[in-house]
């Protein structure tokens, strides 16, 4: 993306024709997202809470205050009383340095990123199985796939580029199978839409694998089938799946036949299957399905989780997840720890770190201070009221942000950060494409790039780090990241950058084949699955599901401050099935209260057949009543992702 700048002001964004992914296109957020850069509400001075009000202070005062309070919290309650939460929007270099600050200077194990809230299960399973916590496929595979399965994702709304390639594939006649309770705008172009009951994905995915095996449609040479059967796949008969998921056996067989007879299977999946009681089990089941069809490591096949942010993958690569250090190194392994310790010249905290929701849950207990970079947790975390209460329990909340978000407003100290247009560094996309971001304008007066803030804070804490540029930090990161090795700063500056792992600049980049190679063949366990946290009952008769509309992104900090994007979605809505609306005597446009066990929000009714009977759909992130305030925060047991995709709800007239 190019930015048009005149006299230090960003006027517009424009696409790049020679970019291999965008090919001259931008989505609505790409065209209009730049409007936040000069938004009058941008923070341009550090804000310090004095007498319960945030007041502007100088950078020097802010940094020394931060250092003093952090040291105070750690002295009183131990080093691990401090938690650090990174961002999916900061550069790789800033993310790496934040991890280094947390683990080496602050010596706290509690570091995590909001990736926990959307794709922790995806990355966990992929790392377990392929050795790398990343997609096995790239976006270009959508153009080469034999059959495409889209599950728990609305590609058009969540990733326009993937959505566009998917639409083109469907138009070319490539079978696209959508598994989702809700009908989407592009569903009409897909070959098959399996409208399952919310939360029953595991049974359906396993049933597809079951049929493939029963019919002998698995790829030739696939081994380990007996174990797969013994593990319990046999239980997932089409009849069982029909009773659990509400999808007809004929439809299941048709889908399985399309998958079994295609040259390759590409699976696109989103938070619809990860933010569930079975989040990790769902991704495992998808891995097995892809493996059965021989699609892992094959052109046009594999798994492609639709990560939600510009640098979600980069956050995982540069070490912001609680389990992994830089280069996705497992910090429980002694060798990985030693390498990092010797390079950083310190010992790393040895205990297992808390994950994001756990840190919020333990605020005021184990966690007494939080440093939050660029994430409006008040919007993105489930049970918003509980999150806000957690902030109040902290001794010290430090927030690094562009705007005074609901989270920043609760902080003791807010540090004003520079926007993407004012920073140097690199981002890694969902298909592990590393690209440079160049500074288009100088940071707004009073703001500082994330990298600089983290360095200043580290030095205020006595780290004595030399001031280093993004390019130097990129080289430093590379020593921990074999996948990034051999990639030059220059090469990631070209349009499209470099797909990692690329060991020389000019090497062909579809390398997951080399990566996975002979690891192909390991099926994962088949689990029966857990019931989802809240079944509808007499009091709360509806299943409430959530999803992201086209105009939104993450916690709304940026899109609600672009006047074009903000006016696209002025009304907070709830979708209800036509039959249910008839029973409840509801009409489109009427106001209702959507209530769950955690709270209520007011919404305008949309009566539609897009949602199945018994189901309500709420778009996430609306400023008029937070959808997330309704959703439960209980954790999925394996990946510690909150089960915030669905819960039980009821409607009341206003």
């Amino acid at each position: 993306m190019l930015l048009e700048v005149e006299q230090g002001v960003v006027l517009a964004a424009a696409p790049q024709r020679d970019h291999p992914v965008s090919r001259g296109t931008l989505c609505i957020k790409g065209w209009n997202g730049h409007q936040i850069i000069h938004h009058p509400d941008r923070l341009t001075q550090p804000l310090l809470r004095i007498n319960n009000r945030l007041k502007p202070v100088s950078w020097n005062k802010a940094l020394s205050y931060a250092a003093e309070r952090i040291a105070g919290v750690q002295k009183a309650h131990g080093r691990d009383a401090l938690g650090v939460i990174g961002s999916l929007k900061t550069t790789n270099e800033a993310s790496y340095l934040l991890g280094k600050l947390a683990r080496s200077v602050l010596q706290t194990p509690h570091l995590d990123a909001p990736l926990r809230f959307d794709h922790a299960p995806s990355l966990r399973v992929l790392r377990e199985q392929s050795g790398f916590a990343n997609a096995t496929a790239a976006l270009a595979d959508i153009e080469k796939a034999g059959v495409i399965l889209v599950i728990g994702a609305d590609a058009k709304a969540q990733n326009a580029r993937a959505g566009s390639l998917l639409l083109q594939a469907a138009k070319r006649g490539v079978p696209v199978i959508q598994i989702d309770p809700r009908q989407q705008e592009h569903s009409r172009f897909f070959r098959l839409h399996l409208r399952l009951r919310p939360g029953t994905d595991l049974a359906l995915i396993n049933a597809l694998s079951h049929i493939l095996l029963a019919e002998g449609w698995q790829a030739p040479g696939v081994t380990g089938l007996a174990k797969l059967r013994d593990d319990g796949l046999d239980r997932f008969t089409p009849g069982y799946a029909e009773s659990v998921c509400g999808v007809g056996q004929d439809e299941l067989r048709t889908a399985a036949e399309l998958i079994g007879k295609a040259s390759s299977l590409l699976i696109l999946f989103g938070t619809g299957i990860t933010q569930q009681a079975n989040g990790t089990a769902n991704v495992r089941a998808l891995w097995n399905l892809a493996l059965l069809t021989g699609s892992i490591g094959r052109e046009g096949g594999g798994l492609l989780p639709l990560l939600t942010s510009n640098n979600s993958q980069g956050a995982a690569d540069s070490g912001l997840m609680s389990e992994w250090g830089p280069g996705q190194r497992d910090l429980r392994e002694a060798e990985a720890r030693r390498a990092i310790e010797s390079a950083w010249g310190c010992s790393l905290p040895s205990q297992k770190g808390l994950t994001l929701q756990e840190m919020l849950d333990q605020a005021g207990g184990r966690i007494r201070g939080l440093y939050v970079v660029g994430e409006n947790l008040a919007w993105s975390a489930p049970e918003s009221a509980k999150t806000l209460a957690a902030f109040d329990k902290l001794d010290f909340l430090l927030v690094q942000e562009l705007f005074l978000t609901e989270t920043a407003a609760r902080a003791d100290l807010v540090l004003p950060a520079a926007s993407f247009a004012e920073q140097e560094g690199s981002y890694t996309s969902l298909e592990r494409r590393i690209q440079r971001v160049r500074r288009a304008i100088a940071p707004l007066k009073g703001c500082k790039p994330d990298l600089e803030i983290i360095q200043l804070l580290a030095n205020a804490l006595g780290a004595g780090w030399p001031v280093r540029k993004a390019e130097e930090l990129f080289s430093e990161m590379q020593q921990f990241m074999p996948c990034y090795s051999g990639i030059s700063w220059k090469s990631i500056g070209r349009p499209g950058g470099v797909l990692w792992p690329a060991h020389t600049d000019d090497e062909e980049c579809i390398l997951y084949r080399k990566l996975i190679g002979d690891r192909q063949g390991a099926f994962t366990e088949v689990t029966a699955g857990l019931p989802f946290g809240e079944e509808p009952d007499e009091e709360y008769p509806f299943s409430l599901i959530t999803g992201r509309p086209l105009f939104h992104r993450r916690s709304g900090t940026l899109v609600t401050r672009s006047f074009t994007l903000d006016k696209e979605d002025p009304v907070a809505t709830v979708e209800i099935n036509t039959d249910d609306a008839k029973t409840l005597k509801l009409r489109s446009g009427w106001q209702v209260l959507v209530k769950t066990r955690r709270g209520e929000v007011r919404r305008t009714v949309i009566v539609t057949r897009a949602v199945p009977p018994g189901t309500l759909f709420l778009p996430i992130h609306h400023k008029d009543g937070l959808t997330q305030s309704l959703m439960p925060s209980m954790l999925e047991p394996e990946s510690a992702i909150p089960q915030m995709k669905l819960c039980a709800a009821k409607l009341e007239m206003v």
Partner: protein, 350 residues
């Protein structure tokens, strides 16, 4: 020397003159960015000027209707409220603009000096000398011959250059163009028959290389007579990603929004920025009612505006100049750009 005069000048001499005029005027021309993309911007010297381009993906309407411009700033902190407007710009030369973009400006002129007289736009138009460069080589997505948008024009420019190799053939299109040649003493001489026939050859070769992919006439008739099935609009609406790219890059699209950006309680700016008829917020009324709430209605509206007879009669030509940019930027690649839609309408009508 009158408008319509054809002259010839050596390229080097013309560029030397252009370089001289930079002392007095802002020269905007095509230049290569670090990544290789060619884009138009103010030139400090001719060193960065390139001829290695077909067209800028970002339409040149931006120099007349900027994507974001401050209309005025207000300050009510004193005893009297103060309004201030941005200072007037230096005279400008837009050098190397392609014929389709010139034709786009002609189209926009109709809008901005029609029912409403837009002072800012028209001041920029008046302030800017248009030196266009006829196209010898089209892009694979160009179809200007279908819309009278090029590859060379009869009017709309101040000076039109045709690259003859070592020389430029100059069409003088206006008094301002003539005065520019005189003021900067451009050593141009009257074009001979050979020069004119060379230009004809070049333009015919360019025409031949262009794929005439958008026969607008049939689509205009179908749209005007409401002979397009609703199901087709419905399908196209579902396909649309509502990115607004087609309208942002269209040289004929004029939609804008005006927003206030307060800076504190007492001062701020009023800003105009591009908007798009493909966004639902564009037509939503204060009551909340939206006459074009769905993408289907917005897509339909776009092509009615571009191709229906009522608008062609009002504007004098269809709302398309054949630059092909919407083909490149459409997120629903190959489905909803004007050439694709015209084709789909034509097939649907058969």
């Amino acid at each position: 020397m009158q408008a319509g005069t054809r002259l010839v000048v050596s390229k080097q001499a013309f560029l030397e003159n252009l370089s001289l005029c930079m002392q007095k005027m802002t020269v905007i021309g095509p230049q290569k960015l670090a990544g290789g993309e060619v884009t138009f911007g103010p030139l400090r010297s001719l060193r960065r000027l390139t001829f290695d381009y077909v067209n800028d993906l970002d339409p040149l309407k931006r120099f007349f209707l900027p994507p974001r411009e401050v209309l005025f700033a207000y300050d009510t902190s004193g005893s009297k409220p103060r309004l201030s407007q941005p200072p007037p710009e230096k005279p400008r030369v837009l050098f190397g603009i392609r014929s389709c973009d010139v034709q786009g400006l002609v189209h926009m002129d109709g809008f901005f000096q029609g029912a409403y007289y837009d002072e800012l736009y028209l001041a920029r138009r008046k302030n800017t000398l248009i030196i266009s460069l006829a196209c010898n080589t089209p892009n694979e997505s160009c179809f200007c011959i279908c819309c009278n948008g090029g590859p060379w024009l009869e009017s709309g420019f101040d000076l039109q250059l045709t690259d003859l190799g070592e020389e430029f053939l100059i069409d003088v299109g206006s008094g301002a163009g003539r005065r520019f040649l005189e003021e900067w003493k451009v050593p141009a001489v009257k074009a001979g028959r050979r020069d004119e026939s060379r230009r004809r050859e070049l333009m015919e070769a360019c025409d031949a290389r262009m794929l005439p992919t958008a026969y607008l006439a049939k689509a205009c008739i179908q749209i005007t007579n409401n002979r397009v099935r609703e199901e087709l609009w419905e399908e196209m609406g579902s396909e649309c990603f509502s990115c607004g790219g087609c309208t942002h890059v269209c040289p004929c699209c004029t939609c804008f929004d005006v927003v206030d950006c307060p800076e504190g309680a007492k001062s701020g700016t009023r800003v105009r920025c591009w908007d798009s008829c493909q966004y639902s917020g564009f037509t939503r009324e204060a009551s909340g009612h939206n006459p074009r709430a769905r993408a289907k209605e917005r897509v339909k509206r776009r092509f009615y505006h571009k191709l229906s007879y009522a608008y062609i009669q009002q504007d004098g030509h269809p709302g398309c100049v054949g630059c092909g940019r919407c083909i490149t930027v459409c997120e629903a690649f190959g489905l909803l750009d004007i050439s694709a839609v015209v084709k789909r309408l034509r097939r649907d009508g058969q």
